[in-house]
């Protein structure tokens, strides 16, 4: 299926949960309502015509305009088509619904996005830091992150 057909199908299912779509870029994407991520994901995975069973990658991005985003790269091993999903949230209220129940592989990617960007994935089974120490403060990949001078009272030499 082409990206246009996929988006049409999603729109017929969900209507206003599909916020925006863009096709004139190298990799077409769909923006999904961050509070309804999971139901959209379930349909993407289970619909006969879609079958996006392979969640390649989830990346968190700080857009430096008060928005954070999670970008999902999906692939279907059955139909061999691809789509990119995006979900946005604000820095003040960084909540996006988790899709770890849909794709097992999403679990660690979401933990990583939480760890480095600070997006909180609601309903995630085990949301905690994964790459950084448990007592790390702040989210290093945010654009306004200040490198701390001290870690646990120890001066960090540069």
């Amino acid at each position: 299926m082409t990206a246009e057909e996929i988006v049409q199908l999603l729109q017929s299912h969900f209507g206003d949960a599909i916020v925006e779509s863009k096709f004139d870029v190298p990799q077409p994407f769909v923006v999904v309502d961050s509070k309804r991520m999971k139901e959209v994901a379930f349909v993407l995975r289970d619909d006969e015509a879609l079958q996006f069973d392979y969640c390649s990658c989830i990346s968190g991005v700080d857009y430096n305009d008060g928005r954070l985003g999670a970008i999902y790269h999906l692939y279907s091993t059955v139909h061999r088509h691809k789509i990119v999903l995006k979900a946005f949230c604000t820095k003040e209220n960084p909540h996006i619904q988790s899709v770890a129940a849909v794709w097992g592989g999403a679990n660690w990617h979401e933990r990583e996005a939480y760890d480095l960007i600070g997006i909180i994935f609601d309903e995630h089974p085990d949301l905690r830091r994964i790459l950084l120490p448990y007592d790390w403060e702040g989210y290093p990949l945010r654009k306004d992150y200040k490198v701390p001078e001290f870690y646990n009272g120890m001066k960090v030499p540069y």
């Binding site: 392979y54 390649s56 990658c57 700080d62 592989g105 660690w108 790459l131 448990y134 990949l141």
Partner: protein, 395 residues
């Protein structure tokens, strides 16, 4: 205020009681032990929190991050796209060529750069040599995990010859910085093609030798067959890739299914696990897929060497790389699986955001799923068969 969840999850054990024959009551409980971070069979600094009921593994909680070197943060602070490449080298330090290629390809696709044909061929040769070298380490160290010392030495002996070829090409034996955006750092040295052909001829019989001493060894088969079975649907759901996915019987290889470089010009086969010694997707299958993949890599190298065209090794690209604002996700097949680079550009000379989707990171996340219910000693076999490189897991 953002809510923070910093504490690790605690496993809730299930205390119980048993009666002995003399009528006494004994308290029983599950035991939590740490395997790693310094443990020879975790292949680096990986800590596994293992919950044990006697010798049976009830649950495994992997703790990673001991080797986190902030690749993504560093990449955002480079002054130039080319400067990221040495950092890519250091992610998966056993397959630096493949990492460099993945990153260079992503930037090239973002900028729509076409590289000269000679570059494409040399990249394929380098990537496949690197794949053999990486699989040799995986196989050799897996042998050690299972108590076979000899194959380890054989594998390292053969890998040395590949590293000699790399050293001859770019001076480095481990971290090459050879594949650049738009081409290569320099052309092949004189005599490389002959030496590479010699290596192929030398290496092919060694695979059979390796099979005789390790792959079909009775003890080795007993330790690995029917252990840690990863069913195909679970493998796909967890987005496993590379040999880990193919061993589960899924016929999927990015070199064939999303061709990049010149892979579509060669004749070779995608290896999938068949459950020859036990169940499809067990540790033996994951091991064996790597062995047969080395043979296919030799086939590709031989064809690429025979067809190697003459020409330039740098495309005409601007001195300072400034992709237009945009984003791209490009995935390539590294020895461990799908290596993806998601690059967001804001139109400046530095990447706005790079996310590296490392195959070992994702493959490791399936570990708890396949090791529940196995014996503690089998956990070593399962971890080894996934072939993780902690440098890449933690980035």
């Amino acid at each position: 205020m953002i809510e923070t969840r910093t504490l690790p999850t605690r496993y809730v054990t299930h205390p119980g009681e048993i009666k002995t024959s003399s009528g006494k009551t004994l308290r029983t409980d599950e035991m939590i032990i740490n395997m790693g971070p310094q443990h020879p069979s975790t292949h680096g600094v990986l800590r596994l929190e293992v919950v044990l009921d006697g010798e049976i593994v009830v649950d495994v909680i992997p703790h990673i991050g001991y080797l986190h070197r902030c690749f993504e943060k560093h990449a955002e602070h480079m002054t130039n796209y080319q400067q990221v490449i040495p950092y890519c080298d250091r992610m998966d330090y056993l397959a630096s060529m493949n990492n460099d290629w993945g990153y260079a390809l992503a930037v090239e696709r973002l900028m729509k750069i076409e590289v000269p044909p000679r570059v494409e061929y040399i990249r394929v040769i380098m990537a496949e040599l690197q794949r053999i070298a990486s699989h040799l380490i995986a196989i050799g160290t897996y042998g050690i995990d299972m108590g076979a010392f000899t194959p380890f030495l054989w594998c390292f002996r053969d890998r040395e010859r590949i590293l000699d070829l790399f050293e001859m090409t770019c001076g480095a034996r481990l971290l090459y910085n050879y594949i650049w955006v738009g081409g290569l750092s320099h052309d092949l040295p004189p005599g490389f093609v002959e030496k590479a052909k010699d290596f192929c001829a030398y290496f092919k019989p060694n695979i059979k030798e390796l099979n005789d001493v390790l792959s079909y060894n009775e003890i080795f088969v007993k330790r690995t067959a029917n252990v840690g079975v990863l069913p195909a649907d679970v493998a796909i759901n967890y987005a496993c890739s590379g040999p880990t996915l193919r061993a589960s019987g899924v016929n999927f290889d990015l070199r064939r299914d999303e061709p990049y470089g010149v892979y579509d010009k060669f004749e070779w086969d995608v290896i999938v696990g068949k459950g020859e010694m036990g169940t499809v997707g067990d540790c033996w299958d994951r091991y064996m897929v790597r062995v047969w993949e080395m043979e296919q890599s030799v086939r590709i190298i031989e064809q690429a060497l025979a067809q190697l065209p003459e020409g330039n090794v740098q495309a005409a690209i601007p001195k300072r790389i400034r992709p237009d604002a945009g984003e791209i996700y490009v995935r390539t097949e590294s020895p461990r699986g799908e290596l993806g680079f998601y690059i967001v550009s804001d139109g400046s000379g530095t990447p706005y955001r790079i996310k590296a989707r490392s195959p070992a990171f994702v493959n490791l996340s399936v570990l708890p799923e396949i090791s529940r219910g196995c014996m503690l000693a089998d956990l070593v076999a399962i971890v080894g068969s996934i072939d993780i490189v902690l440098g890449e897991v933690d980035r």
